[in-house]
Symmetry: C2
Subunit: 332 residues, 2 copies
C-alpha cells in the first residue's frame, strides 16, 4: 500500500484522543461560566470539518451553532457573534491568514476563541484563548471530543461515556478500513489515471463536509482533477440533468439519518448512468463500535477511505499530493 | 431581445410589491405573539432565495435564523426547530414533494408555516398557516418584504420605510438593467453556443444564492451545460489549482460588504486566466435607488442579468429552457 504508515496513523489518532481530559476541562470551564452561542469559523479544509460537526450538532442538539467562512465573517461581521459567543477556529499551519485576521476581529468584540492548532508558537497558537493540539494531531478526533462535550453538557448526549469508550477502538478499526478499501480505491485511480473528465461527488448529512473536502482539497488542489461536489438532496434539483451514461460519479454513503437520501440517488442512478462508484462505511466491520454509534463516526471512517483514494491517485497519476501551481507560489 | 416582455416583468414585480401591507400584517401579528427563531426550509431554486436572505439577515440582524434543505430537515429533524419556531417555505408549483412533506412534519411539532406560493388550491397553498402570493408573483420582492419586516420589528432596520420607497423604483430600473446587459450576455451565449466546457461561476455574500441558482438551475437544468459554482472565499482554497488560461469563468459582482472578496479574485485572475467574464451590478444606473441601498438590492439586479443570460443561451443554443431529460419524466 502506497504511503501507508500504520504506526504513524495510529499514533496520531491515539495522541489526539489522549487530549480528551484537557479538552473536557476547557469545555467544562466555559459551560460553567456560560455562553450564548457557538461560531465555527473556517476556511478551505477546516470549514469542511466544521460542516461535519454542524450536521451532527443540528440534528442532535439545541446548541445555537453557526458555521461561517472566515472571509465572510471578515466582510460581514455577523451580528449574532457577540462577547458571549464561543468561537472555534482551526489552522493546521497556524498561519492561515483569514483565520489570523478573524481571531483578531473576534477578540476586538470581546469573545473568546478555542483554537485547534498543533503549533503553540504560530500566530494562531499564540493568539487563541484556549489551544487544543499536539504534534501531528489527527484532524477528526479533537473536533469530536470538543463538540460532543458541549453537547453532553447541554444535556444532548447521555451516551457520551459509552461513545468515547468505543472511540478508543476506532483508530485500529480505521486501519482495517484503509486496508479493506485499498483495492477498490486503486481500481478507481487506475481507471482515471490519465483522463480529463469531471468527477461528480455526492454526499449527505455528516459526510457532506468530507465529500466537499475530497472534491476541493484532495482532487482539485492536490491532484488537479476537475470535480463538482453536490449534496444528495440537491442532485435531483438541477445537476441531475447533465448526468450522462458515462459521467464519472462517486457516491459516499455513511450511516447517519441521511442515508436514505443517498439510497434514493443509488436507486435511480443505474437507469441513466453506468459509471458510478459507491464508497460505503457499511462495508467495513468497525470492531468495537456499537451499531448505534456507527452513524456518528461515519466521517472518521470515510476519511480513511478518502485518504486511500488520494494516495492511490497520487501514485497512478504520478502527481505528488504536495505539488501546487498557485497556492503559496503566487500572491493573492 | 429574445423573450423580453417588459410589461409582464413590470406587472409581476409591481403586483408582488403590492402584497406589502398583507405581508406586513402577517409578520407584525407573529412578532406580537412572539417567536424564538426562524427556519427557512428550501430545495433547489427556493433554497437559493433563502441563502440570499440569510446573507442579509446574518450580517445585519440578531434574528436567530437557520436555513435548511428540505431533504435534510426530513432526515435529521433539527432539534432547534420547536413549536416556537416560525418556518418559511416556498414552492412555485405548490406541489414540490419535499416541501409538502416538510410542512407536514413542521405542523406535527406545532410550529407555524408561512408559505410563499401563488396557488391557493395547491397542496402547499392549502396547508400553510399564512400564504403569501399572487398570480405570477415575482420570486424576489416577497422575500424582501417578509425578511426586512422581521428585521425592522427586531430593531435592525431603521431605514425600512425609506428602503421600500426606493424599492418602488426598482422594477423599472431592472428593465433598464435587462436592456443594458443584453448585448454582453448575448456575446457570452454566442461564444458558448456549441462547445462543451465546464463553466466556473463565482459569487459572494448575498449573490451566492443567485450564483448557485444560475449554475444549477438555469445552466445545468435548463441548458444542460456543465458548471461548478464556488464562493469567492473558497475559490482560493482548492479550486484555484484547476483554473487554466482558457477555463471559462463568470464572476458575479454585487455591492454588499463582500465585494472586496470578488475584487480579490479579479485582481489575481488575469495572471492565470484569459477567459473570465465580469457581470457587475455597479455597471447599471438603478434610477431612484439611493447609494446606501444598492448593496442590499444586488440580488434583484443580478437576477435581471441572469435571466438575460438564460434567455440568450436558450436562443443561441437552440435549447428551450423548458426541456428536461429526467425531471418529472422519470420517477426518483
Amino acid at each position: 500500500m502506497h504511503k501507508f504508515d500504520e504506526k504513524a496513523l495510529l499514533k496520531s489518532a491515539e495522541d489526539t484522543l489522549a487530549l480528551k481530559p484537557e479538552i473536557e476541562k476547557i469545555v467544562d470551564d466555559i459551560c460553567k461560566e456560560g455562553y450564548k452561542n457557538i461560531f465555527l469559523i473556517g476556511v478551505g479544509g477546516t470549514i469542511c470539518y466544521a460542516w461535519q460537526m454542524e450536521a451532527i450538532v443540528k440534528a442532535h442538539s439545541t446548541i445555537d451553532l453557526t458555521v461561517v467562512h472566515a472571509a465572510d465573517y471578515l466582510s460581514m461581521g455577523y451580528k449574532r457573534l457577540t462577547k458571549d459567543t464561543i468561537v472555534i477556529c482551526e489552522s493546521a499551519s497556524g498561519d492561515t491568514k483569514e483565520i489570523v485576521a478573524a481571531i483578531e476581529k473576534v477578540h476586538s468584540i470581546g469573545a473568546k476563541v478555542i483554537g485547534l492548532c498543533d503549533k503553540p508558537e504560530s500566530p494562531v497558537g499564540k493568539s487563541v484563548d484556549y489551544r487544543i493540539g499536539c504534534p501531528d494531531s489527527d484532524g477528526m478526533y479533537k473536533w469530536y471530543v470538543l463538540m460532543c462535550r458541549f453537547m453532553k453538557n447541554n444535556g444532548d448526549f447521555d451516551q457520551y461515556d459509552e461513545f468515547f469508550k468505543d472511540m478508543a477502538n476506532l483508530p485500529a478499526a480505521c486501519i482495517e478500513v484503509s486496508k479493506a478499501c485499498d483495492e477498490k480505491t486503486m481500481e478507481f485511480a487506475k481507471m482515471h489515471a490519465d483522463d480529463d473528465v469531471v468527477h461528480y461527488l455526492v454526499g449527505s448529512g455528516n459526510l457532506w463536509g468530507g465529500t466537499y473536502s475530497e472534491a476541493m482539497c484532495l482532487m482539485e488542489e492536490m491532484q488537479w482533477m476537475r470535480t463538482k461536489s453536490i449534496t444528495a438532496g440537491d442532485l435531483f434539483h438541477g445537476t441531475i440533468e447533465i448526468i450522462d451514461p458515462d459521467t464519472s460519479m462517486l457516491l459516499f454513503f455513511g450511516e447517519d439519518e441521511t442515508r436514505p437520501q443517498m439510497q434514493r440517488v443509488l436507486d435511480f442512478l443505474p437507469r441513466i448512468n453506468k459509471n458510478h462508484w459507491v464508497f460505503d462505511t457499511k462495508d467495513y466491520e468497525l470492531k468495537g463500535i456499537r451499531p448505534e454509534f456507527r452513524g456518528l463516526v461515519s466521517p472518521i471512517v470515510m476519511w480513511a477511505v478518502n485518504m486511500r483514494l488520494a494516495n492511490n491517485l497520487e501514485l497512478m497519476r504520478c502527481h505528488p499530493l504536495e505539488v501546487r501551481r498557485y497556492y503559496r507560489k503566487l500572491k493573492y
